[in-house]
């Protein structure tokens, strides 16, 4: 099989890439400058290392695409390339903040369902201010917001509800009431973007509380059940609505 000739990574930013595409990087990323390469006139050589994000894999001469989606690039901090893909099934990744549902208590450890292939484990000492005598009050069926500390394909994922300095910083048991529902992972990332219009527009409507888990789960709580359901419906539908349709829908609601 003839070696596939790749295209320059920077030329494809913002375009659809398919698995199997080979992306070539500008020459200063690789040690051995052999082979044909499209020399792009980039500015000053970036310092630091290139980050090869989800959907991409390093292979010899460049980056190999493993998922289909749009190629994104971030020039800051050494540069990063990743593929913005859409999926509904979550795969646990270290450092992600997720919402888990407690399914079982096994001695000192809780089993949480996070939507992955295995239930995650959470030790009762991983809460802020928890000691052997002072145990957290967690029951089966509770919702927990935590982050992964171990998450690879060989081991069962483990979660904690404190960060590296020992503070909970918002993690832990999510309170009573509210509504939990599932959306696709791409929508979550859209909602978590720094200046998300959807969130800004929704925040003008009613006072409410929102917890977004990277595993596709969203928990919403508002003052009345009706308001909660309205917010849920908007969040579920806004994935496929254009900005104008969304504004129309919100205008109707704020008019009521």
């Amino acid at each position: 099989m003839a070696a596939q000739r790749g295209t320059a990574a920077e030329a494809l930013v913002g375009q659809v890439v398919l698995p199997g595409d080979l992306l070539l990087l500008p020459a200063h990323y690789d040690e051995d400058a052999e082979g044909e390469r499209l020399r792009l006139s980039t500015g000053a050589a970036p310092q630091g290392r290139l980050l090869c994000g989800p959907g991409l894999r390093r292979s010899g001469a460049g980056l190999l695409v493993t998922k289909c989606g749009l190629l994104r690039h971030r020039p800051a901090g050494g540069g990063a390339f990743w593929v913005d893909s859409q999926q509904k099934r979550y795969v646990p990744v270290k450092g992600d903040h997720v919402i888990g549902i407690v399914t079982a208590k096994a001695g000192d450890v809780f089993r949480l369902d996070v939507g992955g292939s295995e239930p995650a484990s959470l030790s009762y000492l991983a809460f802020e201010g928890a000691t052997k005598r002072n145990r957290p009050n967690v029951q089966v069926g509770d919702l927990i917001y935590g982050q992964f500390v171990v998450a690879n394909k060989d081991m069962e994922p483990e979660m904690v509800c404190i960060d590296s300095s020992g503070k909970s910083s918002g993690m832990g048991i999510i309170g009573q009431d509210g509504f939990l529902f599932k959306v696709s992972l791409g929508l979550i990332r859209k909602l978590l973007a720094p200046k998300c219009e959807i969130i800004q527009e929704l925040s003008q409507l009613y006072p409410f509380e929102l917890v977004l888990g990277m595993n596709g789960r969203i928990w919403v709580k508002a003052k009345t059940v009706q308001q909660t359901l309205i917010i849920v419906n908007i969040l579920e539908a806004c994935e496929y609505m254009t900005a104008e349709q969304r504004k129309q829908a919100l205008a109707k609601l704020s008019g009521n």
């Binding site: 990087l25 990323y29 690789d30 040690e31 051995d32 290392r49 290139l50 980050l51 090869c52 994000g53 989800p54 991409l56 894999r57 390093r58 980056l63 994104r72 971030r74 990063a80 990743w82 990744v93 270290k94 450092g95 992600d96 903040h97 917001y145 910083s169 918002g170 990332r189 978590l192 973007a193 720094p194 969130i199 929704l202 925040s203 009613y206 006072p207 409410f208 509380e209 929102l210 917890v211 977004l212 888990g213 990277m214 709580k221 508002a222 003052k223």
Partner: protein, 153 residues
Amino acid sequence: FMQRGLDSQTKKQLEEEEKKIISEEHWYLDVPDLKEKESCIIEERSFLRCEDLVYGRMSFKGFNPEIEKLMIQMNSKCKEEEIEEDDKMEADVSDEEMARRYETLVGTIGKKFLRKRDQRVLKDDDEDDEVEEGNSSTKPSKRAKKMFLKPQD
């Protein structure tokens, strides 16, 4: 093998022979060492480090004030680190309050180490202060107690 009474010389000879045997049997690669290439590419499976995502817990219009405080704290952590923390440290106890507390503190701890006589003086002073329309008769009698009274014949 490890025999007692062997001279150190013979021991050394034995060891050398053993080493020779071992090194001849050792396999080694006849290939020049490959230079380790320093890879300039890091692989990452998390979106968190690629994109700039905000914190997942949010509250709007004062529904949950603690989370709103947390939102401000977490989202500004990305931009300005440690500047806010320093400000908070200074504002914990103002200088005036500190001086006031310290003043009273010195008095109370000082009382602890007074001798008995001095303590009684303090007590008298306190009682005198408290009892405004106090019995004046008690005063001289108390004062008199301190001095030795010669018994009258």
